[in-house]
């Protein structure tokens, strides 16, 4: 049985003349343990799809089955509990609470369960250790680099042991070193059996994925299985059809540096506690 099953899911925004069709009868089935990249131009409905899958938004039409249960018409409280217990979110702009320390941020999802404070902090601490951030537990997010903040955000997404991790452009605000750190981390998580779905604009990042879904105007236009370590074919075509070092590539941040490492020996991201400026390699 598929972990996530979307059937003819549509999402409409606005009404009357201003109606926007963000998702147009999308059907997709995701198995446990997949590492999925969702690609597409801005405004093609990637984020809406993520929000619907993450139970942050309700589809206008269609059915959504999560672990065999219909969840497209849940009450807000039930949806919140499912988010708490089975889903982990990673956002482009990190979304840590600025006034809480890293460990408090990571423990945040647990604070909505009945877990005791001590156990919460212990769990959060071990999760931070897993992402290599244990020495930064009592830092405020403002005292960390982008990559480190995103590591903390990943720890938060994982702290409730979710069955699916949803990452909406997790590397969008990071430089190449930060992006690599994050993708390596997600890749590690995938290896130990987590299901990960991430949105990206960067074709290079499809190297990490086992499956790439391409979207356009609210529809899935292609669904491609791919080898880990290989840039997906369609993405590659896209990559090489445009100027290699166009402004967009620079904006996406990673392309040139990404070429260097997939086959080369990679330093473990957990050993690196580099900031945004730590991008210069040794």
């Amino acid at each position: 049985m598929a972990l996530i099953e979307l059937k003819d899911v549509s999402k409409l925004y606005g009404f009357g003349d201003a109606t926007t069709l963000a998702l147009d009868e999308v059907s997709v089935s995701i198995e446990k343990g997949e590492f999925i990249a969702i690609m597409g131009a801005s405004g093609c409905g990637k984020s809406t799809l993520m929000n619907v899958m993450g139970l942050l938004d309700r589809p206008t039409n269609g059915t959504y089955t999560l672990s065999g249960k219909r969840v497209d018409r849940l009450r807000p409280t039930r949806a919140a509990k499912l988010r708490r217990d089975t889903l982990g979110f990673i956002f482009q702009n990190f979304n840590l609470l600025p006034k809480l320390t890293v460990i408090e941020n990571v423990a945040l999802p647990l604070s909505y369960t009945n877990m005791s404070t001590t156990r919460r902090l212990k769990t959060a601490s071990s999760m931070l250790e897993r992402v290599g951030m244990q020495s930064r537990e009592y830092f405020l997010p403002s005292q960390l680099s982008g990559g480190q903040i995103q590591c903390a955000a990943i720890a938060r997404a994982l702290v409730n042991n979710p069955s699916v991790v949803l990452a909406d452009e997790p590397t969008g605000n990071l430089d190449s070193a930060g992006s690599r750190l994050i993708m390596e981390l997600l890749s590690e998580l995938h290896k130990v059996g987590n299901t990960i779905i991430f949105v990206t604009h960067n074709p290079e990042l499809t190297r990490y994925a086992t499956r790439v879904i391409y979207m356009h105007d609210g529809q899935i236009i292609q669904d491609e299985q791919t080898e880990i370590g290989q840039v997906a074919k369609t993405a590659k075509a896209q990559l090489y059809s445009r100027g290699r070092l166009s402004e967009e590539d620079d904006m996406a941040g990673v392309s040139t540096l990404m070429k260097a490492f997939p086959t080369a020996e990679q330093p473990k991201p957990v050993a690196k506690k580099r900031g945004r400026r730590g991008g210069k390699k040794k």
Partner: protein, 403 residues
């Protein structure tokens, strides 16, 4: 467990925006402090009235027109005009004739201004020479006029009136003009303990003149506003009062125009004004509380819209509507709880200062403090609900999008 978490989170938020929290709490602080202080002052005054009632002659009956016995402030009513001379010289005779009554004096108002070294506004009361004996007034300097002095224009001053009228420390023998009539100061009374704010008759402010001189000062005739009767023994007070009441009513054609008050009844009457004052203050404080509650609501509404993104994040990681509601209500309640505590501390400090630097001796009233705190917390919940509900209802996606 979660409630405790909410409390610590709320405290953290308050710490991070101290100034705003303090200003939000200000209304609560002022309201709680005001209620507690005023009630405490009232308590202090009540206690000193009771103390005074216990100390002063227990065997003196006070006879007043019924219209004046409603409040203790009979003098002001007479000065304000409109009062009818209900008590007559006949009544004085009736009172004096009662069994167990050893002596009786009438007090009439003869004027309300006098000219010494300075002009003075205070009651001019014409009495018999027996007065000091009846009410235990002691004379500090000189002597109280005797009935034999009646023909002479002699005046006796209360302690405060003496210092207000003259430069001299002991103005014995100085002259005093009341309504064009000249008087010689024949005596000055010792200060008489009077409960502050009780609105009772204050001998310290009074100028006493002989009854026979009253006619020359007040051509229209001095109005008797009070008769004091001394009873031979304290145990006969109640029975005599009852008998006297019925006799006086009979003389006035069965109408209850005159009221005979025992010392304890008098003390109760005196606290009535005070109670009214306390009620007014409590009403004002209630309005302050209400306004401060609205203030809290306002700040919480601003806080909710400022922290919309945070609400979005919390919802995304699994907070239910109810948990968000709880968080924001806790914040509002914490504002009022801490405000109340600060208010009580302020009130305690205020009472202490008043006790040291004024003649009011507030008796700190814990019940008032507790009740006003409870009211403040109730308001915190009441006014915290609207912003909190707004936060809780917010759709997670749009909350996440707002910055």
């Amino acid at each position: 467990m979660r409630a405790l978490g909410n409390v610590t989170a709320a405290l953290k938020i308050m710490r991070s925006s101290r100034t705003r929290s303090l200003f939000t709490m200000l209304g609560v602080i002022i309201a709680v402090a005001a209620v507690t202080t005023v009630v405490s002052i009232g308590d202090g005054v009540k206690q000193s009235i009771l103390l005074q009632a216990n100390k002063s002659a227990k065997n003196v009956l006070t006879i007043r027109p019924a219209s004046l016995s409603d409040t203790s402030d009979g003098l002001n009513k007479i000065n304000g005009g409109g009062s009818i001379g209900v008590l007559t010289a006949e009544d004085l005779k009736t009172v004096a004739k009662q069994p167990h009554v050893t002596s009786a004096v009438s007090l009439s108002v003869a004027g309300n201004t006098a000219q010494g070294d300075y002009e003075y506004k205070g009651p001019v009361v014409s009495v018999d020479g027996d007065l000091p004996a009846v009410v235990n007034y002691s004379v500090a300097y000189g002597a109280f006029f005797a009935d034999t002095d009646a023909a002479n224009n002699v005046a006796v001053l209360g302690a405060k009136a003496a210092s207000a009228l003259y430069n001299a420390n002991v103005p014995l023998g100085h002259s005093l003009t009341i309504n064009g009539q000249e008087f010689i100061i024949g005596g000055i009374l010792n200060s008489v303990p009077v409960a502050p704010l009780s609105g009772g008759f204050d001998a310290n402010n009074t100028i006493f003149i002989p009854k026979s001189a009253a006619a020359s000062v007040a051509p229209a005739g001095a109005v008797i506003y009070q008769i004091l009767a001394k009873i031979d023994d304290a145990k006969n007070v109640e029975s005599t009062a009852k008998k006297m009441q019925s006799n006086l009513s009979k003389e006035h054609g069965g109408q209850e125009m005159i009221k005979v008050l025992t010392p304890s009844e008098l003390a109760t009457k005196q606290t009535v004004t005070l109670g009214l004052l306390a009620k007014l203050t409590v009403a004002a404080a209630a309005i302050t509380l209400l306004v401060s509650g609205i203030g809290i609501m306002n700040v919480m509404l601003v806080s909710v819209s400022e922290r919309m993104h945070e609400i979005g994040i919390r919802k995304a990681v699994g907070a239910t509507n109810r948990q968000i509601l709880g968080q924001f209500i806790t914040e509002a309640v914490m504002l009022s709880v801490i405000g109340s505590i600060l208010g009580v501390i302020l009130a305690a400090f205020g009472c202490f200062l008043l006790g040291v630097f004024s003649d009011l001796h507030p008796h700190f009233n814990w019940a008032a403090a507790g009740l006003s705190c409870l009211a403040a917390c109730g308001l915190g919940i009441l006014f915290g609900v609207i912003p909190a509900a707004r936060a809780a209802r917010k759709d997670p996606i749009s909350a996440l999008r707002s910055q």
